[in-house]
Amino acid sequence: MQRRHHQASYPARTGLFFLLSISASAHAGGEVIVRGAYYKEKATRVVQPMTDVRLEIGPDTEIAGHFLIDSITSASAAAGAAGVEFTETRLEGGLSVSHRIDTYQVGLFARYSNEPDYQSIFAGVRSTSELARKNTTLGMALGFGIDQLSNAGAQNNGMGQTVPIEGELTTALASLSLTQVLSSRMVANATYDLMYQDGFLENPYRMVPVGAVPRAEIVPDSRLRHALFVSVRGFLPATQTTVVTGYRLYVDDWDVTGHTPGIRVVQALKSDLDLHLRYRYHRQTGAHFFKATYDNVEPFVTNDVKLSPFDSHTIGIKVDTALANLGVSGHMASARADVLLQYVVQNNRYGNAVVGHLGLAIPFGK
């Protein structure tokens, strides 16, 4: 296995220092969450430790930030050099600030991600407005991002014959949301996202069989994506059960249409001890130019699994408890720990996957 060592970049070190600083010097209320996530499928393994910090710096202002390390080990040609297992490390930091003015909330957010062959920066504004005595909440977000990518990974893996490829991708996001209280036990939400991507949308490593010859993937230079998500949350007092149902409809101008319903049930077993059960189904059509193999060169060629028709099932179980239930006393008694396990049945070339999380949320201040 070939492993690349990647030293934390300056923005990543700065972000980590910032998160640690604000968590250590906080006088107001807030929360620090540390989490480790694990994902494993046939040819890919992901280990992702992360930290989230939320800090109230005044009665109406809140800062939130996160930092994560994404370690991906893969033997997939789609993620790196064909036939060579490799490990790549991605660092990501994000920061947001929000301020409440009466019934309005406005905010800014930014995210930076860095890996040897991919850098991404995304920033935007967000606002919400509460109406009808907080029974209705309207939200909007606008964001813009620039990604720069290359196939440096293949060259770093000793495949010196690879032609260097560099590209840039811009992404614009507009989002509208509506949250409506339906009763004292039920609330509904609808979120519509419109995303436009322009630039290098190929995977610079992906090779597609055309006749007997592998050729570089070619997809359109732009993609207009629509996603509408609706959900309803309800609480059943008799059994102390919360039910969250949701459905996402996705369409884009590559002719990918996705239907993604899901349900999550949160059962309170005792005070501050919850059992979560989940199911999510995803079914999508393929892009109009997708083929597993091509007989002749066509304007667009891709065998990307994500652009193929397939469906998947995800089942999950999570236990979330206050540490007081584990015999912890004092300030840490109100901290919460959670364990999440998921199994994903993917009816495509990726194969099935397992996902695991361990999380610890520690409140501070106040």
Binding site: S113, S120, F235, G286
Partner: protein, 70 residues
């Protein structure tokens, strides 16, 4: 797509006109699971995971992508 959006927004808006839950009636609505049953890191990882394995993405109000796992 447009018809679906209009239908859903219309239903919610009509519902909004009929509902006035007062602050003292919000005990159940303020429960953590009724506000958000997943933490920020859990949601971010889930979005990252589905964005890297599905052609469909979005519906969260958050930017996806941002990595070379395409």
């Amino acid at each position: 797509m447009r018809a679906v959006i209009i239908l859903i927004v219309s239903v919610i808006c009509i519902s909004a006109g009929c509902v006035r839950v007062k602050p003292y009636e919000r005990e159940y609505l303020s429960r953590q699971a009724m506000v958000d049953d997943r933490g920020p890191g859990e949601k971010r990882f889930e979005q990252h995971q589905s964005g890297a394995r599905e052609g469909a993405d979005g519906g969260t109000g958050e930017p996806g992508g941002g990595c070379g796992c395409n």
